[in-house]
């Protein structure tokens, strides 16, 4: 997962709000920490950084010199930030819903394929969370699964996704457990199955799982794909094929929950799920 930093990202419509304060949304995920700063309804900075098993240290680096006026934490490690700075914390389900709705007001279904979790969230017409589903406790069918499989095939994530997208055929990979699937892939490769076909088969198995989660909450357009999985063009293409509707991916798919957190921090108790 590559680190990236983007300042003055202009993906949001300008809001001439008079609020001169800066609000931070911090998303402490299983693999990366994401920071989004908003001022006057605009994103003024966003950054994703791998945390190498010390998410709080990474948060401090990300916040260094930024001095936000308020902070809201979300993600797997939200309570770490809450304990450190006394800030409020919300689950990534609510945060990703707020972020997705801001980026795509017509969004009714969210698929968030993250490092250790895959989540499907259903929103009603007013943007309220109606239901959600998460994968089971193992990392089967998540971003981590794809990372491990790319390594098993000796590819970077980009090569892995590109090869899968270009492959005319998909080798059926049955096991979703990261450990078992790796040995299945190794034995298929030993029997001469092309790497490209294996790559496509692995993507297809993740998509089967993600599509099943989405069907469980009920799929309604628009569907937004986010999390690190949003960077993967093959996942997007196969999801569109499986679900039969367009899959919309924001420019920065990894920071959607952090954006939602920052927007809720800015609005405080006056925040509503209604799209402004």
């Amino acid at each position: 997962m590559n680190n990236f930093s983007l300042t003055h990202g202009d993906t949001l419509p300008p809001d001439p709000g008079p609020d001169p304060r800066t609000w931070a949304g911090l998303d402490l995920g299983s693999r990366t920490v994401k920071l989004v700063l908003v001022r006057g309804g605009r994103v003024i900075h966003q950054e994703v950084r791998c945390h190498a098993h010390d998410p709080l240290a990474t948060c401090r680096e990300l916040l260094d010199g930024r001095h936000p006026d308020g902070l809201l934490a979300t993600g797997y490690g939200r309570r770490l930030a809450q304990a450190q700075w006394g800030c409020p914390a919300l689950t990534e389900i609510k945060a990703v819903a707020a972020g997705a709705r801001h980026l795509r007001p017509a969004c009714r279904t969210i698929l968030d394929i993250g490092g250790q979790d895959t989540k499907a969230v259903a929103l009603d017409g007013a943007g309220r969370t109606q239901g959600f589903e998460m994968n089971d406790k193992c990392a089967a069918g998540t971003g981590r699964f794809l990372e491990v499989m790319a390594m098993a095939l000796g590819m970077t994530l980009d090569q892995f996704s590109g090869a899968a997208l270009a492959s005319p055929e998909a080798a059926p990979v049955n096991d979703m457990c990261t450990v078992f699937a790796e040995s299945e892939v190794v034995s298929l490769a030993a029997r001469g199955t092309p790497r490209e076909a294996l790559a496509r088969g692995l993507h297809a198995s993740v998509v089967r799982r993600a599509a099943a989660l989405a069907r469980r909450v009920g799929i309604q357009p628009d569907l937004l794909l986010c999390g690190g999985g949003g960077h993967n063009p093959c996942l997007r293409a196969l999801l569109e094929e499986a679900l039969g509707i367009p899959v919309w991916v924001p420019d920065q798919p990894q920071t959607v929950a952090a954006l939602g957190a920052a927007l809720m921090a800015a609005a405080g108790p006056g925040w509503t799920e209604e799209t402004p």
Binding site: A24, H67, G70, Y76, T91, K94, G268
Partner: protein, 392 residues
């Protein structure tokens, strides 16, 4: 704010253990039980001391997996592991066991358990509907009476059984009154406190003393109704109905209440599923006992429409905001029935529903915190106020 915690439970339990051991020394028999279908009244009427056996700890799993498959319900593995390792003090105390074949996993596990203690297996009908089911069940209960006599119990008499039915009716009635403290506009007792108060000891010993303790606890809890601070705190918490598999392991109950909800009522075994209608008195006591126990709305029965009706009435009478269903791994009956429960809760009851599928391991607690947190956030759309100071 917590008045009743583990120390309340252990104080009572230590004293009861002392008394039970004294009675055992005088020749009394202790009969161990597992599921809710075994009528404790029968065991007590035979002069025995009924005791519920441990099935809630993850610790004895490894021992159990020497003989049992890994992908089996944790409750079954925990029960068997405790017996193999002799790590459950109640099992250690038990002279004989009366088990009920509520599911396939238990039924087969009990065959192994019978190597460790004399065990009588009650075979349940597959359905509770119709007179044939009741006749079958009645014959099964007569079989228990014979087993208890062979295991050192007294011969069963109509009078002794009638007396025990009245004692247990009173016991269940006083337990139910603790739950009913949560029917008002503000709940007066947390789910964790209900758990401790209504089942402080696993022995059914000196029920009269237990009833007195229940009443004392109730009086103390009622004082909370006059405490404005307590009422304000409780009023802000969403009221959850917890249903599903037995809460043998308290992980999910703890996570729900730590996340800010109050488990206002449990429908699970030991909760309202088994505290419902009293056993009828006046007629044939064994037939009345059979009828009441057979009506327990357990998913091992098909159909199990009564469970949906019970849930609906609890949602209304306890002013429930949302329903959470706990299912243990590999518990097929509850897992499969969960879809009908979800449909009924979201449809007829008009309440949000969350199914939590897990085992006894603490390894998924963080994921469950997120899932429960997101569910509670759905109930309360107003986000918390951001901290208004500069960071860091």
């Amino acid at each position: 704010m917590t008045l009743f915690d583990e120390s309340y439970r252990s104080d009572i339990e230590i004293e009861v253990f002392r008394q039970v051991n004294a009675r055992k020394a005088e020749g009394a028999k202790v009969f161990g039980v597992y599921c809710a279908f075994t009528p404790r009244e029968l065991l007590a009427a035979a002069g025995g001391i009924p005791v519920a056996l441990c099935a809630g700890s993850e610790q004895p799993m490894a021992e159990a997996e020497r003989h049992l498959p890994r992908n089996l319900c944790p409750l079954i593995k925990s029960s068997y592991g405790h017996a193999l390792a002799d790590s459950c003090p109640y099992f250690h105390c038990a002279d004989a066991l009366v088990a009920d074949a509520t599911c396939d996993g238990k039924k087969k596990m009990f065959e192994l358990l019978a190597r460790i203690r004399p065990l009588h297996l009650l075979h349940l009908p597959q359905t509770a509907a119709g007179p044939a089911a009741l006749d079958y069940w009645l014959a099964e209960l007569k079989g228990v009476a014979r087993f208890l006599e062979e295991a050192g119990g007294r011969p069963l008499t109509r009078t002794a059984l009638g007396e025990q039915i009245e004692r247990y009716n009173a016991f269940r009635e006083h337990k139910r009154r603790i739950f009913e403290l949560n029917q008002g506009p503000v709940p007066l007792v947390t789910g964790r406190e209900i758990d401790v108060i209504t089942a402080p000891t696993l022995f059914d010993f000196d029920l009269e003393a237990r009833i007195a303790e229940l009443d004392q606890a109730r009086d103390r809890l009622l004082e909370r109704a006059r405490d404005p601070q307590f009422r304000a705190g409780m009023a802000a918490r969403p009221r959850i109905l917890l249903t599903g598999c037995p809460i043998t392991n308290r992980k999910v109950l703890d996570l729900l209440e730590e996340a800010g909800a109050v488990v206002a009522v449990m429908e699970n075994c030991g909760g309202m599923k088994t505290l419902g209608d009293p056993v009828a008195t006046g007629g044939d006591p064994l037939r009345a006992l059979a009828a009441t126990y057979l009506a327990i709305p357990c998913p091992c029965m098909s159909p199990n429409r009564r469970r949906l009706e019970l849930l609906e009435s609890l949602v209304r009478s306890y002013r429930i905001d949302a329903v959470v269903e706990l299912t243990w791994d590999a518990c097929h009956t509850y897992n499969v029935e969960a879809w009908q429960v979800r449909e009924h809760v979201q449809g007829a009851c008009g309440r949000p529903y969350l199914q939590i599928h897990t085992d006894y391991s603490p390894s998924d607690c963080e994921q469950l915190r997120t899932r429960i947190g997101a569910f509670l956030e759905m109930l309360d759309p107003v986000p918390p106020a951001p901290c208004e100071r500069r960071i860091p």
